[in-house]
């Protein structure tokens, strides 16, 4: 219980999956889903720009907050 409470406070930020449309080259991102991996070809999601259903995972990482100068 104690760990769960602390875990929520320290919960790691989930990574984002960055996709590139194979048709129009548009980049977009969404939260990481299980079984995603870099260079995986995804055929069941639509490109937000051209509607193509073929996209490639180009990166997966945890975004960092930009530090103010």
């Amino acid at each position: 219980m104690a760990l769960r409470k602390r875990e929520n406070a320290l919960k790691p930020t989930p990574p984002l999956t960055f996709l590139k449309c194979s048709e129009c080259g548009t980049d977009n991102s969404r939260p990481f889903k299980q079984n995603d991996y870099v260079f995986k070809v995804i055929e069941d999601e639509k490109c937000p720009k051209c509607g193509s259903t073929r996209m490639v995972v180009v990166n997966i990482y945890v975004p960092e907050k930009k530090q103010e100068a």
Partner: protein, 361 residues
């Protein structure tokens, strides 16, 4: 009256503190250690439960895998005798390879429905569970021994390194989340560079050693042989053996060997900072490093290395933006180096080192 009481109090402190001061200090230290040990136990139990749940979800075993996971959590490896160091690298290699295949086979048995790459990732997850279990047992050993013998110096030593140990334990917890979901980790940045270098330009691919592949590409009339572990399962492959076999195969055509790996940063340094130098950038027990150094020396091939800095925690937790973006910068540096150091028609080896979890081919 009050002055007399103050004097009495001062005299008591004067006699009591030297006699009981160390005991009081010891009891404070033991209480602090006990709190941290309890937290360590909670982290250990949490990772163990996550491992069991993941194996049940992915591997769909017919029987409860808990007793088998508890057995693997205590599984050990005895390093070879070093009294006579002759041939120790190959003895160590033999023991590590046997250990790896036995461990993997056991995980495969308790997760019969897992695909091959998932077995690799599950093996890593069980290794994390075993790692935190070992850490907990060692800390508990020193706590109990210190308590039993009332040895303040024994307790002091473990208490002094507890902040670092707790940081490692927290990193283990986050690593267990990453491996249970198959997310790329910081240690995989070397492989990520190799994957990006090859992306879309692969001419030929073949397995050179267990779980290790070679991808052949061409960069402005230079032949580049990219060595890396097979992904997207959690796997480090055998880059040392892979490079050794490639050099034996290519002989004197090779002009350069480049290794790319994640390296531990010093406090105060930025994560994702790229440094370059000479030598073989490979961590671990040293077998891969030894093999590459040995074969490069035999054939007189220069060794060049790129290291991407990160903390121990970042190396085993989901990859951060600064580290992932460093991969793109390293990629440019590697291309520039190849063009500078390898003449047209020449061949070079680029080895991307690290864990391939979440990084495909």
């Amino acid at each position: 009256m009050i002055i007399a009481l103050v004097w009495l109090f001062m005299i008591m402190i004067f006699f009591i503190y030297p006699t009981f001061g160390q005991r009081m200090q010891l009891s404070y230290m033991l209480r602090d250690l006990e709190k941290k040990l309890n937290r360590l136990k909670l982290i250990r139990d949490d990772i163990r439960q996550r491992t069991i749940d993941t194996i049940k979800n992915i591997g769909k075993p017919e029987q409860d895998p808990t007793p088998e996971i508890d057995r693997l959590n205590e599984f050990f490896l005895i390093p070879p005798e070093s009294m006579d160091p002759y041939g120790i690298v190959y003895k160590l290699e033999h023991i590590l390879e046997t250990h790896e295949s036995v461990f993997e086979e056991d995980v495969r048995k308790i997760a019969p429905h897992a695909e091959e790459h998932q077995v690799k990732t599950l093996t890593n997850l069980v290794e994390i569970s075993r790692g935190i279990n070992t850490l907990y047992r060692i800390v508990r050993h020193f706590y109990l021994l210190g308590k039993k013998t009332s040895n303040i110096y024994l307790v002091l030593q473990i208490q002094m390194i507890m902040p670092q140990l707790m940081e490692i334990a927290e990193a283990y917890r986050q690593a267990s989340i990453a491996f249970s979901e198959g997310q790329p980790i910081g240690d995989g940045v070397g492989v990520l560079v190799a994957a990006k270098l090859v992306n879309g330009n692969e001419k030929r691919r073949y397995e050179i050693a267990k779980d290790t592949i070679v991808q052949e590409i061409e960069i402005e009339s230079r032949r580049v042989l990219v060595v890396r572990a097979m992904g997207p399962g959690g796997n480090v492959g055998r880059p040392g053996e892979g490079v050794k076999r490639l050099v034996e195969q290519e002989k004197d055509n090779l002009k350069l060997i480049v290794t790319i790996d994640a390296g531990l940063k010093l406090e105060g340094e930025e994560s994702g900072k790229i440094v370059e130098g000479i030598g073989v950038a490979i961590g671990g027990p040293g077998i891969d490093k030894y093999k590459i150094e040995e074969i490069a020396k035999q054939h007189g091939i220069p060794l060049y290395a790129f290291v991407i800095f990160e903390s121990i925690g970042e190396a085993i937790t989901p990859m951060k933006e600064s580290i992932a973006k460093a991969a793109d910068s390293v990629l440019q540096k590697v291309r520039k180096l190849l063009l500078e150091k390898v003449e047209e028609g020449g061949t070079a080896i680029v080895a991307g080192i690290g864990n391939t979890v979440g990084i495909g081919v």
